[in-house]
Amino acid sequence: MSVNRKFTGSNGRMPLNSKSGKSNEASNESNSSLRKCKKKKPFFVWGFLGVVALGIVWFFISSHSDSFMLRKEKRLGDCEERARILLQRHNISKKQLHAFVSFFSVSDQILSQCIDERRVQKLLSSDLGNNLQMIFSENREFHKEHTGVTGQFELMEQCPVLNDSVQRNLESLLLMEKTVSLAPYSAIMSNFVKNLLHGKNIVQSWVLELVAIQGYLTLCIGYWWILVVITICCRLAGFPLFWNQKLVSQPKQSQHSAGQNPKGAGSWRKKLLVTFVLLGIVGSVWLFWHLNNDIMRRRKEMLTNMCDERARMLQDQFNVSMNHVHALAILVSTFHHSKHPSAIDQKTFGEYTERTSFERPLTSGVAYALKVLHSDREHFEKQHGWTIKKMEAENETLVQDCIPENLNPAPIQDEYAPVIFAQETVSHIVSIDMMSGKEDRENILRARATGKGVLTSPFKLLKSSHLGVVLTFAVYNANFPPNATPEQRIEATVGYLGASYDVPSLVDKLLHQLASKQTIVVNVYDTTNASAPIKMYGTDVIDTGLLHISNVDFGDPTRKHEMHCRFKHKPPLPWTAINASVGVLVITLLLGHIFYAAISRIAKVEDDYREMRELKVRAEAADVAKSQFLATVSHEIRTPMNGVLGMLQMLMDTELDESQMDCAQTAHKSGKDLISVINEVLDQAKIEAGKLELEAVEFDPRSILDEVLSLFSGKSNEKRIELAVYVSKRVPAVVIGDPKRFRQIITNLVGNSLKFTHDKGHVFVSVHMANEVESPLHDMDVVLSQGFRDMSDITYNTLSGIPVVNRWKSWANFKKLSSMNLMDESGVIQLLVTVEDTGIGIPLEAQHRIFTPFMQADSSTSRTYGGTGIGLSIGKCLVDLMRGEIGFVSEPEIGSTFSFSATFRMPKASHQDTKRQQCNPFVSECKGLRALVVDRRKIRAEVTRYYLQRLGMSVDVAYSLNSAYSYLSGSSNKRISQQLEMIVIDKDALDKESSLLYVIKKQRQNDIKRDPKSFPKIFLLANNNLSPDEHGELKSVGVVDGILMKPLWFSILIRSYREALGSEKKQIIRQKEPNLGNLLRQKHILVVDDNAVNRKVAEGVLRRYGAKVTCVEGGRAALKILMPPHSFDACFMDLQMPEMDGFEVTRQIRCLEKEFNEKIARGEASTEMFGNVAHWHMPILAMTADATQASIEECDRCGMDDYVLKPFEEEQLYKAVARCFGSG
């Protein structure tokens, strides 16, 4: 069972958790359950893998879509942001216009006459004209691009491009809308902008979805690839499994290769596994790296985008602001210097700047300083009523809390730049000389040389403690050439306009306007001096990894500014990458584990298989050794045992007193039992070793059954069990087969039946032709149809009246019985033998192992009943050898019926009748006589009839004495009753109706008077339970003529009958012996044998029977002698001879005979010469030691007539010779 279990294990995918640690009982169950789950296993594995893969796909999609959503939101946020900025700028522009209007209104109040159309136009054109001109061209462009955009919506593949172009469009539009707000198109434009923005949003969302879908697809494809790879791996791993199974199924053919290949396959599998696991690990690491990089890249991009955006905006805003300051400078130049008298005084300037401070939201204040040469200082001071003051060296410019009066007058210099106008916020710096501050002086000098806005390096604004920069513009006089050299510029300079910028608030404001300001930290540096950058904005730097630097151009080429952006927080752990890679790793390891388990399981199974095979070989060797041992030992025991028995027999022949005799008999009997046991064991061993060969000789099955009956009659009488034999009429008188083995089977079965039947009931052996089973019911043998009757009849119509099991079931499972068409093989018959008992039956649980050697129903059986338990097993083997089947049906407490079929050959028809006549000479005496059987039980009556019919009598049956009487006395039957030779009455019938017997007797006696010859003998068929008293009584009364003791068998019937008739029984026996002599007397016989001793013995034996014997010692001599014509009547030929064996000699003899016969036919040889023989055919009998089927067939082939066993056995010799001379 364990072998079985392990082998089934190797069949499928390895069950992981079915270790052999289970108990033996459990293994039985696990076996079946394993077998069940074996088929489900692949589905289970695939299901599991599918779920895992789906889970991972879902995880990726969700995480990706999360990030997509985030990005989308961000984009949307950006959009909104831009829109807001756009709006702001627009507002600023609006405000600017407002400021202009107000400026005009203010100016009108003072100098309305001074402002003519031309100036206004000039002013406007300097600032806005260009813009207005651009509107129309851009507008047209926009129209074009817009149609382009709608076209592009349909081409989703170009989405990134589209996105870019949309962005560009938007950017151009930003500018456009700003300017367009003045124009009548503004409403339409803003609609377009809105539409475009909306469109962009839609496109963006579509693009995002597209990207997401692409992501899905790539992921899905990726995972399906993984699944495909896994499938292939599984296939590869599975393939050797199936291969191994094939190996298992043909272990003998590839025993050698099977020993090596699995090992190779195993290491191959292990390499594959390691490769797979390594690949999985590398793959997961790569995945992690790839995803992490992706995340980093995206982060970096985001930072870059944000930083650049911020830098640009800062720059823009600053530039806008600077433009305003520039405009102010031009304003001052226009209204202060070009006008005489000046249209601007401190009050006007203060008011104007105050009112337009909204358009310079980043400046803390503006001031205008006049260029004053030292020569003009006095004039200037006088004109303004204050002295030019010197700026405190330390507290640079625009110091609000310093009081100008406290300041010292400016030291004498070449020129001065005293502030004449200032915004209200910085009005305190009026009169301070800007040239006296070092930074400012440089600023002023640079500004007037370049004509552009110039920035100072950042410094601390006193009041706000913020860092600030000062922007300085030079104001030139009106007739200033547009492409002037720096010297001309310096020359044309009339004053300087300064504006202080509060950088931190500038940046703050800007950042406030932007979304996601929480995520990044912005620092702005002045990097004019690259080695020592000055921080203009931002908190202390905390290194959070990524840093992006954007250059910021504030319009002053000599100053460099940079914006440093950092994420506020360190990058979070890349969970997506970690999860994905860990997932892949886990899957890999799981699969690896599964494969590893499978591989180790395979290896284990292979090892087990090898071990099992080894064990099997050893077990087989042990089995062979056992058989040999048994055979040897049995043989060795049998030989001395024969001696013991022979001695005991001799001992019993001597004069012994009673107790001695008893001892000797007991010893003899025990010895015989021992011999029979040994014979059984020897048989078993022989069968197992395949050495048992069946003989093929002619025999009478009925006589075999008689022998069996005689063997067991004593025992059955002892146990008071009825024992009967019935042979169907259709069974032929002679068949060819192995009578000893046939008898052995029946003996075994009957012996068993008797052993297990106690005190009541019967053992009934019946023999039928196998094809009788198929004959219709009305035509069926009475005994055979018993089973059918039983089903309908409640009264048990059996031999003893005790219920039995249905015999039909015992051969229900026979395959050949029903299917074999006997017509196919001519000369082959199959007999069906049934042994029925009313014993204790076989327990149901033991029925399956009944035919196993050394197994009895249970261990108590051997104690109670003894026996080795191999009888049935031998029986089964023998039945198999006879090409038959054996089966049984048994019910506890009711009994058992064993059936077996056996195949025999039919002899040639000519032999049968003669032989039977010769064997049973008594039969002729009884032939044609009539008998009446009186028996209540039909089956028993049939059995009795069977025996009487064997004697050649015709038999009638009466089922009661009454009916017998009426049968006898019936007038119509008078004639028949007169022929009646004997009446056989069963004891049972007598007991019931004994009075009738006397009536019959009386009538008989009456009849005697008439004709004593026809007086029918009355026999009582008595059971063994007839007491001697009854016996005597019945006899003395003279009612019965004889008592037949059951069980009946042929010879006992004859003996009884003869006793009753008073005839001499010796006559028959004596008749037989000279038969052989009669046959052989005066026959001239040639013995051919190379062995002198054998020759001598054969000669002796044959001579004893009266034959004239000539011996030759070889084939050639025999050929010489047997050259026709010759005078030999028969030839006994040894088969194995040197030079020429018996077969060859026979062939040649037959050849010679043929030639000679042809000669005779042609008339070339005279037939008269030797006894008028017209046709020469010398009977040749083979002498052989072993009458096996093969050698007998060989004999037949080469033209031998028959064979005799060597050393000669009288019976067999007689039979062979009789056949020979009988037919010849």
């Binding site: 030989t639 001696g643 002796g1100 000669f1208």
Partner: protein, 153 residues
């Protein structure tokens, strides 16, 4: 019947029984004895003498072949077969059995086994010869005493 004769008869019976018992002879020998009647009073002796001659010749032959360098097992087998046949014919059961083993050895080309069995054959043969010679002597004595040899039947 004198005591002598009785004694001889007893001895003869015992001898035959012991030979049976030890398996020297089997029923076939008894059969042979039965063949012996007035027409051929020395039948058994004749046969057995032939057997002895045959045996010695065969054993000699076997020995010769077994001492030759390339042993012709086929030839040995043929001899053994012959010996087995004649042994079976006279009912020399033990020799017959050894012959059966011998043939197996020949089949397996077991040189050593053949030698061993040949030794056994020789031993058995001389034992059997001794027994039978004794038997014949007893019979001879009985016959000379005018007693008919009792049939074992």
């Amino acid at each position: 019947m004198t005591m002598d004769v009785l004694q001889l008869q007893r001895q003869l019976r015992e001898l035959q029984a012991s030979m049976h018992q030890e398996g020297f002879i089997d029923d076939q020998f008894t059969q042979l004895q039965r063949l012996q009647d007035d027409s051929s009073p020395d039948f058994v002796k004749e046969v057995v003498t032939m057997y002895f001659d045959d045996s010695e010749k065969l054993i000699d032959n076997m020995k010769k072949i077994l001492t030759q360098a390339p042993v012709d097992f086929k030839q040995v087998d043929a001899y053994v077969h012959q010996y087995k046949g004649s042994s079976a014919s006279i009912g020399a059961a033990r020799i017959k059995n050894i012959c059966m083993k011998f043939r197996n050895c020949c089949e397996n080309q077991d040189h050593e086994g053949c030698w061993r069995l040949l030794q056994q054959l020789q031993n058995e043969y001389s034992a059997l010869k001794g027994h039978l010679m004794y038997l014949f002597r007893l019979e001879q004595e009985l016959r000379s005493a005018g007693v008919k040899i009792p049939s074992l039947e």
